[in-house]
Each structure stands twice: as C-alpha cells, then as structure tokens.
C-alpha cells in the first residue's frame, strides 16, 4: 500500500506542468522528493534527474520514468491578443478544443483556454471534423496584442491545466499521467530500496523529452553506462470499447503491471521478472509489445554503448495522450514491488546473455 506521504508526492508531481524540453517544475518536485533518501542526486545538462543508491558498486541498474508530458508552444501572437500554438509531442488534435491550459511564462503560470468557433457557426461539412492545431488558439483574456506581449513571449511552453483526481476505489486520472506515473514509480523504488541493504548500484532517473523521440534516456543512459535498465511507462489498456484486442492483447486496469516481450526486452531479465512476480505473488499481465521494437525509453537504453539488458514495465493506461489519462493504483504498487524485488535478487557480475544464462 502506498503511504500517505507517497500519495501526496504523487499529487504534487501530477500537478506540475512540464512539456518536453521544459520540464523544470516537474524536475524540481522529483528532485526534492528523492533527495530525502538518496545519497546523491544530480540533474544533467539535458534536464534528466538521477538519484543514486550504493554508488560504489560497479554493477549498475538504471530505472527510467520520463517526467516530460505532451503540450504546446506559443508560436505567434495575433493583433487580437490570441496565441497561436504548435504541438509538443503526439497530441491528439480531436481532444484539444475546449481545453484549459497554463502558459509557463517567465513570471509564472497564466491561465488560458483553447477556443473554437461555435458549432452553430460551423459549416455542415466541417462539423465533427477535428480542427488542425494551427487553426486553434489560446485566449488569455486580454484585449489586444500589446497587452498579450506584456505577459507572454514567443516560445513559451503550454501544458494542460492540472486536473489530478482520485476516482472510485483505486483509479487516478490526470493530464500527463504519461509518464509522470513512471517517474513516480522510479522515486518509490528508490525510497523502498533506500531502507534495504542492496548489493548493486541503483540509478533512478526522471528522464526528459521522451515524447520527442526518447531523447533524455539516450543521454542519461550513456552517462550512467548501466548493466541493466528498466523503463517504466504507460501501456495501452484494452478494456474500453473499440480497442482491438486481437492486435494489442487483453490488458485491463487493476490487473497488474504489464511485462512486454519485444526486441527491446532482454529475455533473461524477462525471465527473472516473471519468476519474481510468481515468488512474491505479484499479479502481472503479459503482452508482446504493440510493435516489434520502440516507443519507450527501453529502446534507447538497450542500445547504449555495448548494449544493456533492458526491460519495459508498463502501467496500464486508458485515454493515452488526452487530458484525462487514467491509471489504477494497484498496478502502480505492483510495478514498484516487482522491480524492487527483482533488483534485490540481482547479483553483481551476473550476466544476461540470451541463451547462455
């Protein structure tokens, strides 16, 4: 069970705004929390934050949860004082109109709304069609360009307004669940391991710019040079209508973290994870990966230097890349426990060569 303290941290993290490339607020909250129980914390030049346990060990385990989120950037201010935007990461344009946002200006956060022409005035043929992001704008309540320019600068990052809520017995919903929930899992594993005696080095990383092409994991993995790497990221839940089970498998919220078997996952580590789950009685769900390789930080950690034994641990997620991404706390707890116990079972010098384990 997650402690009250952990749940408060989770809420704080979800209420941060940090679109890819502008993760400063999220990084600060993550850093402050993990500083309480890691001997060494450092943020690198790209913005990744790394908390280290048992630094003296040569055998290194890297954990990655990307704390960037999808969002926008201001590209132009119109004469009316409206802000035109471009997406940061794979935004689903259908979900954008009507969204409340915050603009991260130098002087602080400004509230804005993404407007759209009323349906009454929309021509028949355009009704029900998604409006391109370039044809949408943010209204910040000013009357003209001059007024807007006093507040906002071209390039200012924009994020969906925090909306973290607990629902039902175990569900949580928030913007940017992808993948601040992964960063949360990383932090909680560090916290748990800090109370135990470990014989490997553990490097828990909140990575940046995942949504733009796995960029933060690329640099942090090179810097750490790990032997083993776990990426924790959201994975598609298929327990809502119209998601094809025949291509994605059967994954539900609340039935445990997802262990995937794709080219990104080292088969030896995969076996260890599965046997740990069995021994410790942790529920897991299995999938083949929705494509043969790629899509998460696992892919680039694996290809670092001479190669790393990696595995993806997924948190089932509904409504990915919309402002209301939903997860289940039981899956989050399962992931923390599974990776913690797996790390406890690793021995320095252990090898992970497929077929020779």
């Amino acid at each position: 069970m997650l402690s009250e303290k952990s749940l408060i941290f989770l809420e704080q993290l979800m209420k941060c705004s940090g679109p890819s490339g502008f993760e400063i607020e999220t990084a600060a909250v993550f850093r402050k929390y993990i500083s309480q129980f890691t001997a060494k914390v450092h943020t690198d030049v790209t913005g990744n934050t790394i908390g280290i346990l048992n630094e003296k060990s040569d055998f290194k385990v890297m954990l990655a949860g990307h704390y960037d989120e999808i969002g926008f950037q201001v590209v132009m201010i119109s004469d009316e004082g409206l802000l035109y935007i471009r997406n940061v990461g794979g935004i689903d344009k259908v979900t954008v109109p009507g969204t409340e946002v915050e603009i991260l200006t130098e002087k602080g956060k400004i509230h804005g709304v993404i407007g759209k022409k009323p349906i009454h005035l929309t021509e028949e043929k355009d009704r029900g069609q998604a409006v391109e992001i370039k044809n949408l704008w943010i209204d910040i309540g000013v009357e003209n360009k001059k007024e807007a320019e006093k507040i906002v600068r071209i390039g200012d990052p924009v994020a969906v307004k925090p909306n973290y809520t607990r629902m039902g017995k175990n569900r949580i919903v928030s913007k940017g669940m992808d993948d601040k929930i992964g960063a949360f899992v990383v932090a909680e594993i560090l916290r748990e391991l800090s109370t135990r005696k470990i014989n490997v080095g553990v490097y828990g990383v909140g990575t940046v710019q995942e949504e733009l092409g796995l960029r933060g994991a690329t640099t942090s993995a090179f810097g750490i040079a790990p032997n083993v790497g776990f990426a924790i990221d959201v994975g598609f839940a298929t327990d809502t209508p119209d998601i094809e089970k025949k291509t994605l498998g059967c994954i539900s919220l609340g039935k445990g973290p997802i262990l995937s078997r794709s080219a990104d996952d080292n088969p030896v580590i995969a076996k260890i994870l599965r046997s740990t789950a069995k021994k410790k009685n942790i529920k897991i769900q299995e999938k083949a990966g929705y494509r043969a390789s790629g899509g998460t930080d696992t892919a680039v950690i694996q290809l670092t230097r001479g190669g790393v034994a990696t595995s993806l641990v997924g948190i089932p997620n509904r409504y990915m890349h919309t402002p209301v991404e939903m997860c289940d706390l039981r899956d989050v707890e399962g992931a923390i426990k599974l990776i913690t116990e797996t790390i406890m079972s690793l021995k320095p010098g252990q090898t992970f060569i497929p077929g020779i384990d």
Partner: protein, 64 residues
C-alpha cells in the same frame, strides 16, 4: 509513450520522393533513381564506388 512519428533517435530515416510533388526534370530523375535501384539490387553493398559508377553507366545505356 512516444507517438509513432517521433522515433527520430531510433530509425535511420530514408527520404522518399513525394509522388504529388512536381519538380524540374521529374522524369529524368525518376529514370536515374530506377537505374540506381536496379544496380543496387543486383550488386548489393560493399563494392568500390567506381564499380557502381561503371554498372550505373551500363544500366543507363540499356534503359535509354
């Protein structure tokens, strides 16, 4: 999870010609590219540049 189009760091991207786009010497360009692929299909990679050059010349004569 990163969305499809952003796998810049993972994939070596090939640049394909867009069929819809019109440009100068479109037909000639297409012919040359066709010849190049024919040569590459037969020879594969690993030969010296001069070998490809000679092969491409022969192929281009054949194709007119």
């Amino acid at each position: 999870m990163t969305e499809g189009g952003h796998r810049l760091s993972q994939t070596k991207t090939f640049i394909f010609m867009d069929d819809k786009e019109d440009f100068l010497y479109k037909e000639t360009t297409e012919k040359i590219i066709k010849c190049f692929y024919k040569v590459f299909d037969v020879l594969g990679s690993g030969f010296l540049e001069s070998v490809y050059e000679k092969a491409l010349l022969i192929e281009m004569k054949v194709c007119g």
